[in-house]
Structure formats: structure tokens, C-alpha cells
């Protein structure tokens, strides 16, 4: 899940500047679970806007905000409300907000409207208990869990070390974050339990940052072959002419 946190009212009003009429968009997935982009939160923000004399011309929870087809349809559905809007605030993750911003910029009836993020996107994580989320994966591009007993050092070690503990732990706690156990001690315990402690003796090479050249893109093989087929057909058509 993508963990988000709502920006402060102050930050949001600074973004909105002189806008008078605003459209609020939320997201039915991660942002709803994180209580940053569900119906409830949109209503709360609407209340704040109203006390400042701003008007909300439409409110819509996208299902979900990161799906272009869904967003396109939703924007068409509120075409009239959007017509007089000065700004759109998107309460989803950064991905959802960009999907919205891109489509808003492409559609004739909306391209002049600025889109602002209502949330800060924090990390990819899991729910540990209601209202508490912990980062679990940094989407590093080469999953190391296979030799670490299923515990991620890239994410859970404050220094992202791959060759074992830094030596700074206090007791069992991490030097950087006293609330967390040093992840390398957890990995050691787990590897001992599954009889794979020797994994720790192998020198791990530095990470390959070529896998992290941003923005990253991933194309499925089925997509590639479909593209090739299309190209070949187009070429055949031309040749026939």
C-alpha cells in the first residue's frame, strides 16, 4: 500500500492562492485506508475551505485515482462543475495526483485548471495496527529477500546496508532510530532459525543504480510482442500499397 499524509491546511491554502472555486478529488484505495483521501476527509477539507469563504463546486472519490480510464470518465462526469473551477486538489498519492494532472491537461474542458496535491506521499508500507503504518519496501529493483530470511535490509536498515550490521547498535536497538531493533540482528536470528546463517558470509556487491534511473518504466513481454505484431502488420499494409 502507498502511505500518504495530508498536507497541512496552511500549505494547502498557500498552494490555492487566490482560487475561489475548488474541485476536490479523493481516492478509494490506499488514500482511503490512510484516511487522507476518502469521502470523510474531503468533507472535512470542504468545511475548512468554506470557513475561508471558498466554494467547493464538486467532490469525487476516484476508484482509484491511478487508473487513467477511471479518472477520464470521472472528469467527464463532472464536466459542468469543472467548467467554473479555479483549482483541483487531489487527495491521493503522488501517482494518482499525476494521473489526474495529466488528464486535466489533456482534456479541452479542463486544460486551464491547475491541479494541486492534497497529500504528501510517504512510502510503500503495511498496516501494523489501525492508524499505524511501517515502510516495508523501497522498490529497489533487485529483491534481496531471498537470502535475508524475508526481511528487507534495504528498507529496514537506516543505512540500507547489504553486508551486515554497521556496529552502531545500542543493545539490540538501531543507532539511528532507537525505537527500531537493528534489522541485521533480526535477519541473523531468522537466518539461524532456518539454517542459513552462512548467507551472511557472502560479500554482497554494491547496489546497481542503473536499475533506478528515474523515471523507471516496465513493459511486459506480452505488451512488447503485441507492439511488434502491430508494427509488422502496419509494414505489410504499406508494402501491399
Amino acid at each position: 500500500m502507498i502511505i500518504t499524509e495530508q498536507k497541512s491546511g496552511e500549505d494547502l491554502f498557500a498552494l490555492l492562492g487566490s482560487a475561489r472555486r475548488v474541485v476536490l478529488l479523493g481516492c478509494s484505495e490506499c488514500a482511503t485506508i490512510c484516511k487522507t483521501g476518502g469521502t470523510e476527509q474531503l468533507l472535512e477539507f470542504e468545511k475548512k475551505l468554506k470557513t475561508r469563504g471558498l466554494e467547493v463546486s464538486a467532490r469525487c472519490v476516484l476508484n482509484p485515482a491511478c487508473n487513467a480510464q477511471v479518472v477520464k470518465k470521472a472528469l467527464k462526469g463532472i464536466r459542468e462543475e469543472l467548467a467554473g473551477a479555479d483549482a483541483i486538489v487531489s487527495f491521493s498519492c503522488g501517482d494518482g495526483t499525476q494521473t489526474v494532472a495529466k488528464l486535466v491537461g489533456q482534456m479541452e474542458h479542463t486544460f486551464h485548471i491547475p491541479v494541486y496535491p492534497g497529500n504528501d506521499t510517504l512510502f510503500l508500507g503495511e498496516t501494523t495496527r489501525a492508524g499505524e503504518y511501517v515502510e516495508a519496501c523501497r522498490a529497489c529493483g533487485r529483491c534481496e529477500l531471498g537470502w535475508t530470511g524475508g526481511i528487507c535490509p534495504v528498507t529496514c536498515c537506516a543505512k540500507g546496508l547489504l553486508n551486515g550490521p554497521c556496529g552502531g547498535a545500542k543493545g539490540r536497538q538501531c543507532e539511528v532510530n532507537a525505537d527500531e531493533e537493528c534489522v541485521w540482528l533480526r535477519i541473523c536470528d531468522r537466518l539461524a532459525a532456518i539454517g542459513q546463517l552462512d548467507n551472511l558470509l557472502e560479500i554482497r556487491p554494491p547496489r546497481d543504480y542503473l536499475k533506478n534511473v528515474h523515471p523507471r518504466r516496465h513493459v511486459l513481454e506480452s505488451r512488447r510482442s503485441a507492439d511488434r505484431l502491430k508494427e509488422a502488420r502496419a509494414k505489410e499494409g504499406q508494402d501491399a500499397k
Binding site: A158, K159, G160, L161, L162, N163, G164, P165, C166, G167, G168, A169, K170, G171, R172, E175, V176, C182, W184, L185, C188, L197, L200, L201, I203, R204, P205, P206, R207, Y209
Partner: protein, 293 residues
């Protein structure tokens, strides 16, 4: 040739001391302290942005140490530089004729005076040792050839603590594989722990210098227990320091350091000591007098 490596090779009890470069361009105090230590230590470690605090770089301060006639140990952490900058820094060390190298991971920026800085850790201590090793074979990390020869005596740090002994020793073995030819430990105060560590690491046949920190008060000991990564000071030592006030506290710290060094040498608990006076480098001579070195 590195004098430190020679001393360790002939099994003489080695003595190194730590010097932190100043914050600002005035090197006078550091020069004075290094001059005082000259002839009494085998090499001077120069820390690399110690405790993640921005200051003069290790490379420049190593040059100053050399100018004073003392052999430096350049410390390089993985915290602030990526693999390109680390390799460049080590090549530069080679140009200056710096032989001893201590590869360390480095305290997190959060612990220092620029807590918002980006933590790099592109290479860890093992990766930095690999750089030194590949350099000596005439190649960089990517296998490209280097012109000119470069010679290092690479070492690494180890933190023997009760709770992390096993993983620390496993990492130590990796560091040896990566090229570490000597070790300096984090501050040790618990000699039983050091005995255990000696027993476990003797088979590796790589010299270890035990870290000795000069305690200046019980308050400093408590602070270190709370805030300095990898340090564990037993209650007994804190109680001993607690009995003294004013100037006597420093004197007791010097006696304590001297006693520990004597025991370490007499019982062969390490192949040498690495003294960290932390801001009281001018007292180094007194510690060595107390230790009978």
C-alpha cells in the same frame, strides 16, 4: 612502506591515536597535538567527518599530519561519498603517499550537525576495502586500469558488544576477505568482553588494536552510553569516575586508560591499542606514561 604494518608484522605492541580535523581552517591546535604525539605513536588516525559533523576532510588533515612527521591513517566512510568520489579520494591519498586506510560505514547524518543531509552509503565498509584491494591490482571497481602504482595497508573497524558479537564477527570475516589487514575496535571498557573477543578472533590471524577512550567524567561515560553508537561502559567504571570531582576526574580517566592499556598488553588481549582522547589529544603523552609505553 607503512610503519604501522611493519610494527604489526614484527609483533610489536602497536599504538595509534585518533585526531579529529577542526571545524574551520585553523589547523594550529591539531598541529600542536600531533607534534606532541610524534615519536610516541606509530600512526595517527584522521577521522572522516567524525560523528557526521562537517569539518576539514580527512585527506587534507592527513597531509598536515604527514607534514608534522607522523604517519597518518586516512579514515573513509561510506556516508557522504558515492563509489566515484570514494575511489577518487583514495587515488588522491595515493598521490600524497598515504598508506594506511581505515574503512568505516560511518555514523548516520542524523547524528551530526547537518541532520537533513542525504545519507549516501553507496559503498559500505566492505565495499571500501574492495576498492583498496582492486586499486592495488591496478584496477578500479569497474575493472578499468589505473596508471601508476598504489599501495595501501587497509584496515577496518569492529565493535565487540555482547548483543551483537556473532554478527560482528561474521562481518569481520567478510572484511578480511575483502582485504582488511588490521582492525581497530570501537571503545572497549569491558575487559572480559575483550577477552572473549580475543578468543573468538585469534584464529583469523589479523592484528587487532583495542580502542581506548579517555573518559573525562562520569557524565561523559553516561553520555557515551546513551548517545555514541556501539559503546557500552560498565556501571563499575562509571561508579569509579563518579568518586572524583574537578581536575581529578581527568586524572582518573588518564589512570584508567593507562591501566587498561597495561592489562591489554600484559595479557595479550590485543596486538596494540588505538587511543581516542576526543578533544584532549594533548593528554596523549600522559596516558602513554601511565601505561608505561
Amino acid at each position: 612502506m607503512s610503519m604501522l604494518s611493519e610494527v604489526l608484522k614484527i609483533d610489536r605492541f602497536a599504538v595509534t591515536a585518533e585526531f579529529a580535523p577542526p571545524k574551520g581552517t585553523d589547523m594550529d591546535h591539531m598541529r600542536v597535538c600531533v607534534r606532541l604525539a610524534k615519536g610516541r605513536i606509530h600512526a595517527a588516525n584522521v577521522t572522516d567527518f567524525q560523528s557526521a559533523v562537517m569539518r576539514i576532510s580527512s585527506l587534507t588533515a592527513c597531509k598536515v599530519v604527514m607534514d608534522e612527521g607522523v604517519e597518518p591513517v586516512i579514515q573513509i566512510t561510506g556516508r557522504d561519498r558515492n563509489r566515484i568520489a570514494i575511489q577518487g579520494e583514495l587515488l588522491s591519498a595515493g598521490v600524497l603517499g598515504i598508506k594506511n586506510l581505515l574503512a568505516v560505514t560511518g555514523d548516520h547524518p542524523k547524528m551530526g550537525d547537518h541532520p537533513n543531509a542525504m545519507p549516501v552509503y553507496d559503498l559500505d565498509s566492505v565495499g571500501i576495502l574492495q576498492v583498496a584491494t582492486t586499486f592495488m591490482s591496478g584496477r578500479d571497481l569497474e575493472g578499468n586500469s589505473l596508471n601508476g602504482r598504489i599501495e595501501f595497508f587497509p584496515g577496518a573497524a569492529v565493535s565487540p558488544t555482547r548483543q551483537t558479537m556473532m554478527p560482528q564477527i561474521m562481518k569481520m570475516r567478510k572484511k578480511i576477505t575483502a582485504g582488511a589487514r588490521f582492525f581497530q575496535t570501537q571503545a572497549v571498557f569491558d575487559l572480559d568482553l575483550l577477552r572473549e573477543f580475543r578468543r573468538l578472533t585469534t584464529p583469523f590471524d589479523v592484528p587487532v588494536l583495542a580502542g581506548i577512550v579517555l573518559l573525562k567524567s562520569a557524565g561523559m561515560a553516561r553520555f557515551m552510553n546513551r548517545a555514541i553508537p556501539g559503546v557500552e561502559i560498565p556501571e563499575g567504571i562509571i561508579a569509579r569516575m563518579d568518586r572524583f570531582v574537578g581536575k581529578e576526574r581527568m586524572n582518573e580517566g588518564i589512570r584508567l586508560a593507562g591501566e587498561m592499556i597495561r592489562t591489554i598488553r600484559d595479557e595479550n588481549l590485543a596486538d596494540g591499542v588505538h587511543i581516542m582522547a576526543i578533544g584532549a589529544e594533548e593528554r596523549l603523552g600522559q596516558i602513554l606514561d601511565e601505561a608505561g609505553l
